[in-house]
């Protein structure tokens, strides 16, 4: 029993307007269930998950902080950007307003976060458009285009059906691992990326030291 082992700990935050489904995405990711009637998030909730990226042969421990989208908590949410390695910027495909507000959220991220932070734009609630295309207020192409302009990853997902939720996190992780491989992050530069090291407890972490030296060197 060597405990749970992982190569990296990546800190993620989920941000975006109120009621776009941030908490539901997190719960879908960590518990594989749909949060039917969530209360508005007060402050920040936490969840974590191990994600394996087969191409890199790496296990990543994703620590995800779910932030409050309500305006009154916005200043608090800003405190999290600085320490994050990845950010899910969420909007609701059935709400034009939430997509437009994504610009100001992105501005916040750009102001406060590490410049190398990986940001993925997530259009949530696509399940609502499956039956009734008229409900969609943000065309996929438009969002994709904006993401490209801003240098963001992009995916449309549904916390309800689960479609693309894991994919969203995984593609963000891949991007971060890619950056690590390219040496964008020095070990200490981004507080959001941590190599796993055996700590003072008795928990041994397998293979972390060996892999870390190589992956940062290349």
């Amino acid at each position: 029993m060597a405990g749970i082992s992982w190569h990296y700990v990546l800190k993620f935050i989920i941000t975006g307007d109120a009621a776009v489904g941030k908490s539901s995405l997190l719960v879908r990711l960590t518990d594989q269930r749909f949060l039917a009637n969530p209360d508005p998030t007060l402050g920040v909730e936490f969840g974590s998950k191990l994600i394996t990226i087969p191409e890199e042969n790496k296990v990543v421990k994703l620590q995800c902080w779910d932030t409050a989208g309500t305006e009154s908590f916005r200043s608090i949410t800003r405190s999290y950007y600085r320490g994050a390695a990845g950010c899910l910027l969420v909007y609701d495909v059935t709400s034009r307003q939430s997509f437009q507000n994504a610009r100001s959220w992105l501005a916040d991220v750009r102001t406060h976060a590490d410049p190398h932070l990986t940001c993925i734009l997530v259009g949530n609630k696509v399940d609502l458009c499956a039956d009734d295309a008229a409900r969609r207020q943000v065309p996929t192409e438009e969002a994709e285009l904006w993401a490209k302009e801003e240098g963001l990853l992009f995916v449309e997902a549904s916390a309800k059906s689960g479609v693309n939720v894991d994919a969203a996190f995984e593609s963000a992780c891949r991007d971060i691992l890619e950056k690590i491989r390219k040496g964008v992050f020095d070990d200490d530069r981004s507080p959001g990326v941590k190599l796993s090291k055996p700590t003072n407890g008795n928990v041994a972490v397998d293979g972390s030291n060996g892999s870390s030296s190589t992956c940062c060197g290349t």
């Binding site: 405990g3 749970i4 920040v44 936490f46 902080w65 608090i76 600085r82 700590t199 003072n200």
Partner: protein, 860 residues
């Protein structure tokens, strides 16, 4: 020197005339402006700092904005001026001034500093400054600001552009002074602010805090920063589920176990490391360990499943509570934190308890025989820590430990089958034999001989509480318990085993089972058995209750002895109330064993001072009356006159008065070890035997039982003997529920009755109807027959009529013929007469007689 001369000039003034502080400060404040040379500004700040304490108000009024500007602009460039300015602001914002009148000024000035967020933000940034002194003074000023105006400062902190990074970084610094300051600031900032707690967790504050703990040598370190860091961990975790779920994913929970020298990866078959069981303890380590245990408790209680260290934590708590040399206070804490679900592990867990070697001052320890967790727990409850080593003193911690152990035992009993198994284990192996001696049974049957032994009384109380847990509201175990036939206690065994000496002690070790066979014991037993039938447990307790009342009434008891008597009596009354409740057969046994007489005698001449004993007697009598539903010598009808003589209302009143007694009133779910004496007012002259002595009267389960059923009994005690049982409820809520259900049932049964009568009516009606319809049918058929008959008759009639008609016609014809014939005859006779006349005329001989005959005929 430059600084001194400049200051001197500033203070003296250009003319050398004496100056007021006001003038001096104003002049110094003027020099703070950015147009002045840096060196001059520095000198002015230093001078102001010197004046700030004595002239708080003036310095703040004249120079505060300037000082804040200097912090904002100069501190980065020149650490000295920065530090001086910060210290100066600290002085004017000081709310802990020795002069009380100056304190309010500190609040006013702090509010001025907090007018906008720039100073706080700057100070937070300065926490990461190169200069150590500057970091330190910024940290101190921030701490004082957060203490004075926490909400505002916390709000600014959350919006700070630098974020919490510099503060978290400060925790990494070597050196006690700055680390201590940083911990102070941290603990002030995180107080009551879940947002800050989460932000800091996000920024890795847990890791930094534990780094401080391990860096300083763990819990054994004399350094206070270990305890302070653990206090911060406690605040960060306690009410913050988000942080809890973060924390449990980290390697830190394992570290918690390691800090106590416990193996976080321990498996059920692995023994516990001895360095865990036997540690060196001092008060500072105990404080720190208490915090570690709290954190473990929070994690065990936090939501979510699959805590990796779950088993290790549970085991740690159990081992520390029952098989270690940890301070009693920590053991109490361990049992309190043990989750309810952990109790099922106890029977399979093997513990190695330790005992201090006498006269070694806790430095040498004997390892005792291994025992299962549940045996060790029972042993702990029945006799106290270290086999009752210090039980006679009844110190708070030791009593709390036993009380909390009862709580764990209660969790163990959550499944009714466990209760049944335990009570079954107390039954005699065969009808002719007696029950085996279990520690619980032994504690329960100790006779209340006077003078009462303090240790025994406490054992008796805990045994009774445990036994009550087994049988309360459980008809199955009550039925089983009635069959318990306790083993005979010989005069030898009882007192000797009551002391904690080695000989008696062996008797108590649960693993030993039955006492060692002693010839005298066997003889005595035989002798006793020959004399009388063995008593059941219930009979024995009834007898002991009578004995206890007897010893209480003896003249010449000192206060302390009386109190012990009262304690025993209360305990018996409480146990019996719970046993007899809803158990008519047990009521029967109790009444026939003389219980009624005991209660009535007590109620006849109740104590004027004490309300609890008479109240409980009345309560128990009420229960006996209410549940006396089995046929027997003493029926409700025979009890009723007794109750009337005692006054049913009086009894109900006595029962109600118990409520006001402190011994019942103050008991709570986690609080039933009371300071001795409780209540103090009852006997102000009472002096406990030992300092800080505590005492137990009733446990929460009984108090709850009493509170929910007291009203029912008050009602039923005044009820008519013929009235049906009105009480079958188990608790207040349930009794309400039962009452409401009962009304529903009554309503429904009334409805059913009504419906049934209706149905009956209807059915009779319908049967009548069927009868009628049958009659009708028969009638109809008759009618049909009749009508058929009638038809036939009519047809006949017609025929007849026709026949009649024909007859008539015939007759008429005949008549006519006759008439015609008559006419013809008439005509013939008239013709004959005429012919006769003619013949006479002609002279023909005509016979007269013919004519006469004719006339005669006509005349006839």
């Amino acid at each position: 020197m430059d600084f001194l001369s400049q200051t001197y000039v500033a203070l003296r003034g250009p003319t050398g005339a004496p100056q007021t502080p006001d003038e001096t400060v104003t002049r110094l404040a003027d020099r703070l402006s950015p147009s002045t040379l840096l060196a001059d500004r520095r000198a002015a700040v230093l001078a102001l700092k010197g004046l700030a304490r004595a002239h708080k108000q003036i310095v703040a009024d004249r120079a505060l904005p300037g000082l804040l500007d200097i912090i904002q602009t100069d501190a980065d460039v020149d650490p000295d001026i920065g530090r001086a300015a910060i210290e100066c602001v600290s002085s004017v914002c000081d709310t802990l001034d020795l002069q009380y009148a100056q304190r309010d000024l500190g609040y006013v000035h702090t509010d001025r500093v907090l007018e906008n967020d720039r100073t706080v933000h700057k100070l937070l940034a300065l926490l990461a400054d190169q200069d150590r002194g500057l970091r330190h003074s910024a940290c101190l000023l921030l701490t004082s600001i957060v203490h004075v105006r926490p909400q505002k400062a916390q709000a600014y902190f959350l919006k700070a552009p630098v974020g919490p990074g510099p503060l978290v970084g400060l925790l990494e610094e070597p050196g006690d002074v700055i680390c201590h300051a940083a911990l102070n600031l941290l603990s002030a900032l995180i107080r009551q602010s879940p947002e800050i707690q989460k932000v800091l967790a996000f920024d890795g504050v847990f890791e930094k805090l534990f780094a401080i703990v391990t860096r300083d040598g763990g819990l054994d370190s004399p350094n206070t920063s270990v305890e302070e860091a653990l206090k911060c961990v406690d605040t960060l975790l306690r009410f913050n589920t988000s942080n809890q779920s973060y924390f449990r994913e980290t390697p830190l929970p394992a570290l918690l176990a390691s800090l106590l020298y416990f193996d976080p990866n321990i498996q059920p078959d692995m023994p516990v490391p001895q360095e865990f069981a036997l540690q060196f303890w001092n008060s500072s380590k105990a404080q720190a360990a208490a915090l570690v245990l709290e954190a473990i408790g929070i994690l065990l209680g936090s939501k979510g499943t699959g805590l990796r260290e779950g088993y290790a934590f549970t085991r740690l708590l159990i081992e520390m509570a029952m098989a270690s040399n940890a301070p009693t206070r920590l053991k109490v804490q361990c049992l309190r934190l043990l989750p309810a679900s952990a109790a099922v592990l106890l029977p399979d867990m093997v513990l190695s308890p330790y005992m201090p070697v006498p006269e070694t001052n806790g430095e040498e320890w004997d390892r005792l025989e291994e025992a299962t967790g549940i045996d060790a727990l029972l042993e702990l409850i029945m006799h106290g820590e270290y086999n009752g080593l210090d039980a006679t003193r009844r110190q708070k911690e030791g009593m709390d430990l036993r009380g909390n152990a009862v709580g764990v035992f209660e969790n163990f009993l959550l499944d009714d089958r466990v209760k049944e198994a335990i009570v079954t284990g107390m039954l005699p192996p065969s009808p002719s034999e007696r029950s085996p001696v279990t520690p619980l049974l032994f504690g329960l049957i100790l006779p209340p001989n006077s003078p009462l032994d303090r240790v025994n009384v406490t054992s008796l109380q805990f045994a009774s509480v445990l036994f009550a847990h087994l049988i309360r509201h459980n008809p199955t175990t009550k039925a089983l318990a009635r069959q318990i036939v306790p083993p005979a206690l010989t005069p030898m065994s009882a007192p000797s085993s009551a002391t904690s000496g080695p000989g008696g002690g062996a008797f108590f070790v649960p693993a030993d089972g039955a006492p060692p066979p002693q010839p005298e014991v066997a003889e005595a037993k035989d002798a006793e058995e020959e004399e009388e039938d063995p008593q059941t447990l219930l009979q024995l307790i009834t007898e002991h209750l009578a004995l206890a009342f007897l010893s209480r009434s003896r003249a010449g008891l000192v206060d302390r002895e009386q109190r012990e008597c009262d304690r025993v009596i209360c305990m018996y009354l409480a146990l019996l109330s719970q046993w007899l409740w809803e158990d008519p057969q047990a009521v029967r046994v109790f009444l026939e064993a003389g219980g009624l007489g005991v209660l009535v005698e007590q109620l006849n001449q109740p104590s004027e001072l004490d309300v609890v004993v008479p109240g409980l007697c009345a309560f128990l009598l009420g229960i006996c009356y209410e549940f006396n539903r089995e046929p027997g010598e003493i029926t409700r009808a025979t009890m009723y006159p007794l109750l009337t003589r005692l006054g049913a209302d009086v009894l109900a009143g006595r029962t109600a008065r118990v409520r006001d007694d402190e011994r019942i009133k103050v008991v709570g779910p986690d609080f039933w070890v009371l300071p001795c004496p409780t209540p103090t007012a009852l006997n102000p002259a009472f002096i406990p035997m030992y300092e800080n002595e505590t005492e137990v009267w009733f446990d929460w389960a009984f108090v709850e039982f009493w509170k929910s059923n007291n009203n029912t009994i008050q009602r039923s005690i005044v009820a008519d003997p013929e009235s049906a049982s009105s009480s079958a409820a188990q608790s207040g809520e349930e009794s309400v529920l039962v009452a409401s259900l009962r009304t529903v049932i009554a309503k429904q049964s009334a409805e059913i009755e009504a419906l049934q009568t209706k149905l009956k009516e209807l059915s009779t009606a319908s049967s009548a109807a069927t009868k009628q319809s049958a009659e009708l049918a028969s009638l109809q058929s008759k009618v049909q027959e009749l009508s058929a008959g009638a038809e036939a008759a009519a047809a006949k009639l017609d025929e007849e009529r026709e026949a009649l008609e024909a007859e008539r016609a015939k007759r008429a014809e005949v008549e006519k013929e006759q008439e015609d014939l008559l006419v013809l005859l008439d005509e013939l006779s008239s013709k004959r007469a005429r012919d006769k006349v003619l013949m006479r005329e002609k002279g023909l001989d005509v016979s007269e007689d013919e004519g006469d005959d004719d006339e005669d005929d006509e005349a006839e």
